[in-house]
């Protein structure tokens, strides 16, 4: 199994990559064969993530955003079919119900990349609010996870007992120096 993450731009640093690996190695219970970091930055935005569907066309793949906190043994997240999060159990759908903070697939799903690449200019103009809207509008075949990853905004002061991972989303500042809460115990010391 391959674990994948992306680091590009100024928002995330080597610390965030090391931190994700630290949480996976120490709390998730995941066993993996390789830990892959995509750093190529052709688009200077979230569309960079789509490169993983071109690059990894075999085996089991499990992608994580860098702004998550993993604090316990994860449920089985690897999937045969292309699968991502549906957030509508904890928020309004807004412009997309989907969230690609966690994505899994087995084998070749390069159609996702190809769909983007074929109409790249149009896609870049059309989906200015993120790749999650692109998935929702342009990709016909996907599955979604059962509720596995709530937002930390609803669990700022106490970790969610029924889950083992939270997305930080807009609250990624919680990873900066100076912030301390239950989540800090799972991060690498700054």
């Amino acid at each position: 199994m391959r674990i994948i993450c992306c680091k590009f731009g100024n928002k995330f640093t080597d610390w965030h990559v090391d931190n994700l690996k630290h949480m996976i190695d120490n709390y998730s219970g995941l066993k993996y064969d390789s830990f892959e970091v995509i750093e190529d930055n052709p688009y200077n935005n979230w569309f960079n993530k789509l490169q993983m569907y071109d690059r990894f066309r075999d085996g089991e793949n499990l992608y994580f955003d860098l702004d998550v906190v993993i604090f316990n043994k994860l449920p089985k997240l690897t999937r045969k079919y292309f699968t991502l999060l549906d957030d509508t159990w904890w928020r309004e759908p807004a412009h997309t119900p989907l969230n690609s903070s966690i994505v899994s697939w087995t084998g070749d799903v390069s159609y996702v990349w190809n769909t983007f690449k074929l109409y790249e200019d149009e896609m870049l103009k059309k989906y200015t609010r993120g790749s999650d809207e692109f998935y929702f509008e342009e990709i016909d075949y996907y599955d979604t996870y059962e509720p596995v990853c709530p937002s930390i905004k609803d669990y700022l002061y106490e970790n969610p007992k029924d889950y083992s991972i939270c997305t930080l989303g807009q609250m990624h500042h919680l990873m900066e120096k100076g912030w301390s809460g239950w989540y800090s115990d799972y991060f690498i010391q700054r």
């Binding site: 731009g9 905004k153 807009q170 609250m171 900066e176 120096k177 100076g178 912030w179 301390s180």
Partner: protein, 237 residues
């Protein structure tokens, strides 16, 4: 523990303003405190926290982080004071720093000159965590709030309006704002005409001498500079 919290970013002021402010606080109060500065450069403070230039949080809006009990290593029961750095301390401020604060009470300067909001961002005092929603709600949609008051015409510069947002959140939650005595606060601007009007108003409201002529009125503990940077008042500090 009393934490005095500030934000500094390079631009209008240089790091030595923080040093002056810190030294001046130490000199003018006997009350123990920890001086915290969220800064984009190394400054003189008991605790310096990084101002993340790559964050979507702009300018003074970083001040709102101090409303979260999870920021700056706050502990339950800590008294949090958030201050602007463009202030000159002209007298002993024990009564200001030690101003008693109850649970769920928000203390700010009494802004005695005409103004359309109740809080004054120069000074907030509250108990750690009592107003966590000010930061928590803001952090869910900073892009909206950071331009809202500019687009609404309430402020004249883009990304201004942090005080307006705090004012709104307190109004929304029906929080009464406690004001420290107005005569403790002076205001200084580089506009001579404005200063004359302020001097007259201060004198009338508090039945005393003018606010600032050759010297600062002895009732004043601290002078808030509204954009003034190059003037003799800095030397008092």
């Amino acid at each position: 523990m009393i934490k005095i919290c500030t934000v500094f970013f390079e631009g209008k002021y240089s790091p030595d303003y923080i040093s002056k402010f810190y030294d001046s606080l130490k000199r003018n109060t006997t009350v123990p405190f920890e001086f915290v500065c969220l800064s984009d450069t190394d400054v003189k403070a008991d605790l310096v926290l990084p101002y993340n230039k790559h964050s979507n949080i702009k300018l003074h809006w970083h001040k709102l982080k101090f409303f979260s009990p999870q920021f700056a290593y706050q502990k339950p029961g800590d008294e949090i004071i958030v201050m602007d750095i463009d202030q000159v301390i002209t007298n002993n401020i024990d009564d200001l720093i030690n101003y008693p604060v109850k649970d769920n009470e928000f203390i700010s300067y009494h802004t005695w000159w005409p103004r359309n909001i109740k809080v004054n961002g120069g000074f907030y005092k509250f108990k750690s965590g009592d107003f966590d929603y000010i930061w928590n709600d803001f952090s869910l949609n900073p892009e909206y709030w950071q331009t809202h008051y500019y687009e609404n015409g309430d402020v004249h510069y883009k990304y201004y309006g942090e005080q307006n947002y705090v004012d709104w959140k307190l109004f929304e939650k029906n929080i009464t704002i406690t004001k420290v005595p107005g005569e403790w606060l002076g205001k200084y601007t580089d506009n001579r005409k404005d200063m004359i009007e302020m001097n007259k108003l201060y004198s009338k409201l508090f039945n005393t001498d003018y606010m600032i002529l050759d010297n600062v009125n002895e009732k004043i503990k601290i002078v808030h500079l509204n954009g003034a940077t190059n003037n003799k008042i800095w030397n008092i500090q």
